[in-house]
């Protein structure tokens, strides 16, 4: 809960500002209606501009009348409060490299104490998104809000409450683990004493105390990854950006890191976690955004994403589908939704809430010789398959 105080302060500041505006509005409105209206109109636009740029079009509120304007202001205040509740807000973020749209209108939020997984294959735009959020890359369009403040408005403030773990091992191999942590702690603004103390804490938490005095170049891949992670945590960030932190390490080391990240979340840190491992996203993240070719295709909890497929069951049929198509089967599309079709396999989900036994009966009655039918719970891979037409591992 280490971030709670500053977060609460920021909320109080904003709420105080809003209350002051409201009071002014009410007072002026009662005494000088016409002037008050003009004032309200200005205030509304001002608050809208500060709150959500996408609401700027709401200047049309003028035509709704006085009550409408009051409602709009309240609505905006609520939206603003919601924004303050999000540790990270990303709105229509876009980045183009030449003809390649690396990131295309990506929007999502990460709340305190939440791990938001950005799941996608290599080259989907995950690292570019993180680079823009961390202030490394300038977005072509869109905006990033960190603890309610636009990143562009005060990047230094945003970076103070942010910790970034790059995909590459951005550490000094010649230095020891302790020296690396202390150095990055000092760079993050800690005093020498605080950096030393925090380094000892982190080395213990990362189970690296016994190797603290060894040069990082002598560490295993998993240990290096842990140091790489630790270097971003010295200043106790409220928002942690993790760019594929478990790439290239053995399952045991991965498990250790995932456990550590889970503990960070429990302490209230908001975490943006990019990965192309389905299992990690499924087991670790509270909400998941599926990204491909720079576009956020879907987002939600695991259950919400599974529901997109039409229920909690999928039917995988193995048969020769070379010469037959579901389009030719009478009423098939009214009863089932095709998730994937190949020459040998057809994966479908039932439309609406239907009895699985009835669904199986229907499928076995199809005009093809079905060799095998498997009923399974839809995975993130199935969601990705449905969204992109290809598997995540391809």
């Amino acid at each position: 809960m280490f971030h709670a105080s500053s977060f609460a302060k920021a909320t109080e500041d904003r709420q105080g500002e809003c209350a002051e505006k409201k009071e002014l509005f009410n007072r002026k409105d009662r005494k000088e209606p016409m002037e008050g209206r003009r004032h309200i109109s200005f205030r509304c636009r001002h608050v809208i501009a500060m709150a959500t740029p996408s609401f700027r079009g709401l200047e049309r509120v003028k035509g709704v009348g006085h009550a409408g304007r009051i409602f709009a202001c309240r609505f905006i205040n609520i939206a603003y409060t919601i924004r303050l509740m999000n540790m990270l807000g990303v709105e229509r973020l876009a980045k183009t490299f030449g003809a390649i749209h690396a990131v295309d209108a990506v929007s999502f939020e990460v709340r305190p104490g939440e791990i938001y997984g950005l799941l996608g294959p290599n080259g989907a735009g995950k690292t570019t998104t993180i680079a823009m959020i961390s202030g490394l890359l300038k977005p072509d369009a869109g905006e990033v809000f960190v603890a309610g403040t636009a990143l562009g408005a005060d990047p230094r403030k945003a970076k103070r409450i942010m910790g970034v773990v790059p995909q590459e091992l951005a550490i000094y191999e010649e230095l020891t683990g302790r020296e690396n942590l202390e150095f990055w702690g000092r760079m993050a603004g800690l005093s020498a004493r605080d950096a030393r103390a925090r380094t000892s804490e982190l080395l213990a938490a990362l189970t690296l105390t016994d190797r603290a005095k060894d040069a990082v170049k002598t560490y295993s891949g998993g240990m290096k990854r842990r140091i790489n992670l630790g270097c971003a945590l010295l200043h106790r960030p409220q928002l942690l950006l993790l760019d594929e932190p478990t790439v290239g390490i053995d399952p045991q080391a991965r498990l250790n890191i995932l456990e550590f990240i889970g503990n960070l979340r429990a302490s209230g840190t908001a975490i943006l976690y990019t990965t192309h491992y389905l299992e990690e996203a499924e087991s670790l993240c509270q909400r998941i955004g599926i990204i491909d070719h720079g576009r956020l295709l879907a987002e939600g909890t695991l259950v919400e994403l599974q529901r997109r497929l039409g229920g909690d069951r999928l039917f995988a049929l193995e048969a020769d589908f070379k010469n037959s198509s579901p389009d030719e089967w009478n009423g098939f599309h009214q009863r089932f939704r095709v998730i994937q079709k190949s020459e040998k396999q057809l994966v479908v989900a039932a439309v609406g809430t239907r009895d699985p036994a009835e669904c199986l009966k229907d499928l076995l009655a199809l005009p093809v010789r079905v060799e095998n039918v498997t009923v399974k719970r839809p995975s993130l891979n199935d969601v990705f398959l449905q969204l992109t037409g290809r598997e995540l591992r391809e």
């Binding site: 680079a131 961390s134 890359l137 790059p166 951005a170 000094y172 230095l175 000092r186 760079m187 603004g189």
Partner: protein, 431 residues
């Protein structure tokens, strides 16, 4: 902040000293190279006696005069001729024991006295040495010029003189020839002494308020130090060091490229810190390396060639300023081309161009006119080399203070440019 960054780099260098050792070996090798290339040194930093072989294949009295002339008075002070046959002389030159072989060809005297052919002396230079053979070449050229001058004026009397040398003339005839030669020399005296073109070096005026005796003493000291070859070595060493510092600066700045490759610089950018401290720490670190290398080159060179640096403090300040400029320049080049492989070629070209156009490798006068007049004056390498050389030779006013300011200003501007370029690179995507 800066000290934390510097401490980090110092620890890294301590743990991985190989790049540093290589960088320190380079100036040592360079000092040794200059020593090898430009020959040995004599006492008091002077050239020393030039040992060379004289092969007299003419075997006549006049050629013996020529042979022995090298061994007389002033000649004996600087020259150490040995007389031998051609084969033996060639063996010695192959064994690198003599600097050159001077061959007086058969019929040299007859050809000269009859003026049938131009004067020809053959000089075989030792390719392993540079200065001594060059000096001998100049001396031989001067001797040929002198012989030609005599030939032009006394050509008519040569047959008579030849008979004198062969003992076929009586004393009256010899007396007449001497008398005639005396008349001609008397007529030519006004052209020979004093010479029509003369050179006189002006001593710098003593500073106001300085004790006249002390100033004169200093001037004499400076003159004695600049006499001989230490001045030449100092001239060469300053130019070569200015050029080598450019290459060493390139090596020193590879650490910045390493930080980019390892993404540690990028990670630093995700923190709330500005790019300035990181960049300045790299420049400072590179400057420290360049100063150590300079100490080896200038200090070691000074000891090896017994160069008396006229104003060591001012020279040190100039070297520090130049090192700042070099480090900042390569910071800009790293910002322009972060990739190590691609940058290597660009940096080499930039270093060579700055060194050559700045008159480090060749004197400014030998550069093409356009470069000399329009490019060289704008080269910081020229500012440094010219100021250091002027200071060393004592010629004119020492503009080292202004030059130091120019160098430091250039370094500050270049560092600012590098910071701007890095910020821009990061914002548009470095990789």
């Amino acid at each position: 902040m800066l000290h934390v960054l510097l401490a980090k780099d110092l620890r890294r260098a301590w743990r991985n000293p190989l790049p540093w050792i290589i960088n320190l070996i380079v100036p040592l090798a360079m000092t040794a190279l200059i020593g090898l290339v430009f020959g040995g040194k004599g006492d008091n930093g002077a050239l020393g006696r030039i040992r060379f072989a004289v092969v007299n294949e003419d075997k006549r009295i006049l050629s013996d005069f020529l042979r022995n002339a090298a061994n007389q008075s002033q000649g004996n002070k600087y020259l150490d001729p040995v007389f031998m046959e051609r084969e033996e002389a060639l063996k010695l030159i192959n064994a690198n024991k003599i600097s050159a072989v001077l061959i007086i060809e058969t019929n040299f005297v007859r050809n000269y006295l009859t003026a049938r052919e131009p004067v020809t002396l053959t000089l075989i230079k030792n390719p392993a040495e540079a200065i001594h053979p060059a000096v001998l070449e100049e001396l031989t050229g001067a001797m040929v010029t002198g012989l030609n001058a005599i030939s032009r004026n006394f050509n008519a009397e040569f047959p008579a003189w030849e008979r004198v040398f062969e003992g076929k003339e009586d004393y009256h005839r010899v007396s007449f020839l001497i008398d005639q030669a005396g008349d001609k020399l008397k007529a030519a005296r006004q052209f020979i002494d004093p010479p029509l073109v003369s050179y006189e070096k002006e001593e710098p005026a003593p500073e106001r308020g300085t004790n006249q005796v002390a100033a004169t003493g200093n001037a004499k000291g400076a003159r004695s130090a600049n006499d001989g070859w230490s001045g030449l070595f100092a001239y060469l060493l300053i130019g070569m060091s200015a050029m080598f510092l450019l290459f060493l600066g390139q090596n020193a700045m590879t650490d910045l490229q390493r930080e980019l490759r390892q993404r540690t610089f990028e990670r630093y950018q995700t923190l709330h810190q500005d790019v300035w401290p990181f960049l300045v720490s790299k420049v400072v670190f590179a400057v420290v390396m360049l100063l150590i290398c300079s100490a080896i080159m200038f200090g070691g060179g000074g000891v090896a060639f017994q160069i008396h640096w006229q104003n060591p403090l001012a020279l040190s300040a100039l070297i520090a300023g130049y090192s700042c400029f070099v480090a900042a320049l390569f910071a800009v080049l790293v910002a322009l081309v972060p990739d190590e492989r691609r940058a290597s070629a660009l940096n080499n070209i930039a270093g060579m161009a700055l060194g050559l156009a700045g008159g480090c490798a060749f004197p400014r006068q030998q550069l093409p006119v356009f470069v000399r007049d329009h490019i060289t004056p704008w080269m910081p390498s020229y500012w440094f080399a010219d100021a250091a050389r002027s200071m060393q030779s004592g010629a004119g006013q020492n503009p080292w203070g202004a030059t130091l300011f120019q160098l430091l200003l250039s370094a500050a501007i270049l560092t600012a440019v590098a910071a701007w370029l890095f910020r821009r690179k990061f914002r548009i995507g470095l990789h």
